[in-house]
Amino acid sequence: MQTVLGIAIDGVAYGMILFIISVGLSVTLGLMRVVNLAHGAFAMVGGYLASFAAQRLGLPFEAAAAGAILLTVVLALPLERLLYRRIYGSANELAQVLLTIGLTFVVVAGINYLFGPTLKRIPLPGYLEGVVELGPKAIPTHRAFVIAVGMAAIAGLWWLLERTDFGVKLRAAVDDPAMAAALGIRTERLYAATFALGVGLAALGGILGAELLPLEPYYAIRYIVLFLAVVAVGGAGSVFGSAGAALALGIVDTAGKYLIPDFGEFFFYAAMILILFRWPNGFFRRRTA
């Protein structure tokens, strides 16, 4: 019983981190049709900036996190203009893979040059340490906080996509970019805004997940397969698909590590092959943007 609860809580927290980081990847893939292998690099940059702000500049956690997210977005937006805009569209798959692998390598080298090869921590504020009592079981506060932020992100994205003007335009553009542009939707601005949102969420995930996915220069390469798996299983462009896939993968992966540590990864990939073989467009079919 204790193990089951432990798996559930760790798995859900892990899944929420995966969701927060991957949802931006999913939406950019659904909207701009870009396989962005550099997405993990944005999460890594966010984490490193927050760590720098908190440890070197001595900023409080909230300020460091907010500043790091903003700065990551500001740094990434010119990339959208200069690099990504040239490779939008599904015809450029190979160019996308290569350009974004190249970008990832450059970011990895740059992070190592600026911050060194050692593992970086982001010190948590006092109120996130310790445990919260939840009936008979105590949950680490950090995990509870991550789960709460993840739920807030899902709710916020739902509201944004279903209840706002922006969401209507975004869904229209995902379904048919040419038609949306013909109807007068400024797709270029929409792309830039979506890209910024995705990068910001990735940075947030990188900061919150630093305890689970440790910050080191190879972060961007090590975890990108995981983020891509979430998107592939969840279906490109689907927020709820990403949430479902991230939670499922988070729980499966955590359970595998707890119960069958020797073959965890093997079953993870076997499950992914089976799902993708049966549902090549993702297990959670695309319904909303």
Binding site: A95, A109, F266, F277
Partner: protein, 324 residues
Amino acid sequence: MSPHLRDAAGAATLAAAGLAAFWLFPEDLGLLTRIAATALYVLSLDLVLGYCGVATLGQAALFGTGAYAAGIAAVHLVAEPMVLLLIGGVAGGLIALATGALILRAHGLALLMLTIAVTQMAHEVANKARWITGGSDGLSGIAPDPVLGLFRFDLYGRTSYLFALAVLVVGLLVAQRIVRSPFGLACRGVREDPLRVAALGGSPRRYLIGMYTISGVFAGVAGALTAVSTGIVGLDSLGFSWSAEALVMLVLGGAGRLYGAIIGTVAFMAIHHILAATDPFHWMLFIGLFLMGVVLFAPGGIAAAAERALERAAGWLRRAGARA
């Protein structure tokens, strides 16, 4: 020049350049041997990517399977190098046939993820089957017999290099025949327009699986060649980054041209040898910037850029001749 004559000239150039390198860099035969074996591996990727348009990140699964099959056979069964290459090729072809039917149904991201997943599973199996593969320590103790019973593998790596070069030249000749055959042309048709191939009565998927299997044979032979010439097989031969590196080398040289695969491998590994010796991160920065530059400014890689330059030079010469 007829295409076949040009192919023969290309293979002869490769052999001549390889022999020249043998005389020029006698200290670096180990590196040269790895370059020759890797060129064959990148050539195998070119067959699927350049001629069928399948963007895969799983070529290492085929290479590594061939390498481990040959390595395990060498430790336990036979030591004849040619037989080991054959075993590697058969193993690579079989795994390509088995997984190709699974992978090639998908497109885009799903296809990429399936190729990655197959590679990761193969990696995990090799890692866990420690009793036969050596796990993370790698498989060692491969001691092949003399090539054709005549040429002993010497300490300086001379035989290794010449053997690898010979296999690469033969591989290039065979690959040239394949891509010029009706089957190879049909594969190019699938790359350009699968719907039209289907409308003409061909089966795009069958062509793709056929070419993927052939590519698996090439990759398996390349893996076996690496195992035979270096004497060890490591887990990284089944790694994600080995797949990605093959892609980078191919695109650097120019996909869709067989000699592009060879040029790209030579350029990549030579620069890697120089830069990574100082700091691996310098190498990553360089190759990252280079990749972005190739995608943005020189989509055909080195081979296309060289062809353009040659055409320009030829045009200039013609004009100069006409003026005179």
